[in-house]
Every structure is written in C-alpha cells, then in structure tokens.
Amino acid sequence: MPLYTCSSQRGLISLSNKARISRAITDVHCKVTAAPPDFVHVFFFDSDPAELEQSTAAAGDRPPRFQLFGSIRAGRTDETKHALVSGMTERVADILAVNASEVGMSTRDVKAQWVMEGGDVLPEPGEEAAWLRRHSEKLAESGS
C-alpha cells in the first residue's frame, strides 16, 4: 500500500512505458508523501473495449483513455491528494505523449489498520520511519 492501478485498452501502453510509468508513479508518491518506495505497488490492466464503450455511452462523452486509480492510506490531506493526482497525471501523460485530459485519476482512502505488509499492520501516514525501524529490527531478530 499504496496500490496504484492503471487501466487502458490492450496495446495502448508498451511494456517499456509500463516500466517508466511505474517508476514515475513511485517517484511522485514518494516525493509528495515522503513514504519509502518499497510500499508503492503499480499494477496495469487491459480494459475490455466493450466495457469502455458502455461507460462512454453512460457518461455521454469521451472518457479518458488511461485510468489511474490509487488505494492510499487514509489520513492524507486534500492538498496531498491533489498533489498526487496532478503529479501522476502530468507524468503519465508526458510519458505517453498524450494530453493530460486523456488521463483520468481518482483515489480511495484505506485505513492503515486494515492492511498488513511485511507481517505488520501499516503505520499511519507520517509514522513510516519508526515503523520501518521496528520492522527491520523484527526481521533481523527472526533472521529473515
């Protein structure tokens, strides 16, 4: 956590651009939140063109061709969320050489206490350093 997903029609994002986008999303997340990169997961999905057509018809206009969605820990300020969305949208659009309006993004808050990573319940935002220290000590003691 965070888990960012990027959905688009098959073939629109090359494997090399997937690599670049994953690094860009990780970079933006870490710069904006000061969280360590090891927490950041980015998964890509090929969306079904039929589903896209349906959503287009429902929306009544053309939706973004690239959809980013971030499950992030609750407790981030609106300002932080805005910086994440604008930073990632801009970087992804730049990598794909498309207009930023082609990239849509939303986030969902997930309470840290609902998630376990590395065998420990996640820290609240801002408490990562102490968590990482305790986690490293625990792994060292267990010989992992």
Partner: protein, 106 residues
C-alpha cells in the same frame, strides 16, 4: 457475503497452489467465525504489468472484504493469511500484502 480477491504475479504461483491457498483462506474465515464461505477471485498480473518500488513485482495482494471486525480479530486474520501464503508459496514476508476491509467502508 465475504469476498476475497487475490492479485498474483504470473508464473509465481502454480494452479495447484492456488487451490490450496483458496482452501486455506476458506478455513481461516470459518475458523474465526467470520463467514461460512468465501467468494474467491484470482487476478493474475502478467509479466511486465506488476511493479513494486519501480521494479518488477513479486508481491501478492490478498484483499478480504467482509463484515466489520474488531481490530484484534482483523490482525489475527491478516497474520493467518500471511502465514498461509508463506507456507504454500515460500514467499518472503515482504512479498505478501493483506487487507481485511469492511463491506461498509463508511
């Protein structure tokens, strides 16, 4: 209705192991009196589609959605899911991310 969505990286977990993991998840849910059954969904992330820390990912993400639980029980269930994953996939503890989310997240 309890659901469990598992994101796994292509080629890392064979189908036979998936079945054992699904059985283990159902057993954990039953043993902790959370629900009688679990609706499982497996999503395989193709090679090149999953990234962690900007590098190819070897992580699995297991997301259980169920009724709201006391935090102590939630932690117990999350620990059991981590142990299950390590036992059957031989993954490192840092390669398993587990969440237990309430169905009503308000």
């Amino acid at each position: 209705m309890t659901t469990c969505t598992c994101f796994i990286q292509e080629g890392l977990i064979p189908g036979s192991t998936e079945q054992r993991l699904a059985g283990g998840i159902r057993e954990i849910v039953k043993r902790n009196s959370i629900d009688e059954d679990v609706q499982m969904t497996w999503i395989t992330i193709p090679e090149g589609y999953g990234w962690t820390a900007g590098k190819p990912s070897t992580s699995s993400v297991v997301s259980l959605m169920t009724r709201d639980l006391k935090q102590s029980l939630r932690i117990q269930v999350m620990r059991s899911l981590c142990d299950l994953w390590i036992e059957h996939t031989r993954c490192d503890i840092n390669e398993i991310i587990v969440s237990v989310l309430p169905l009503n997240q308000e």
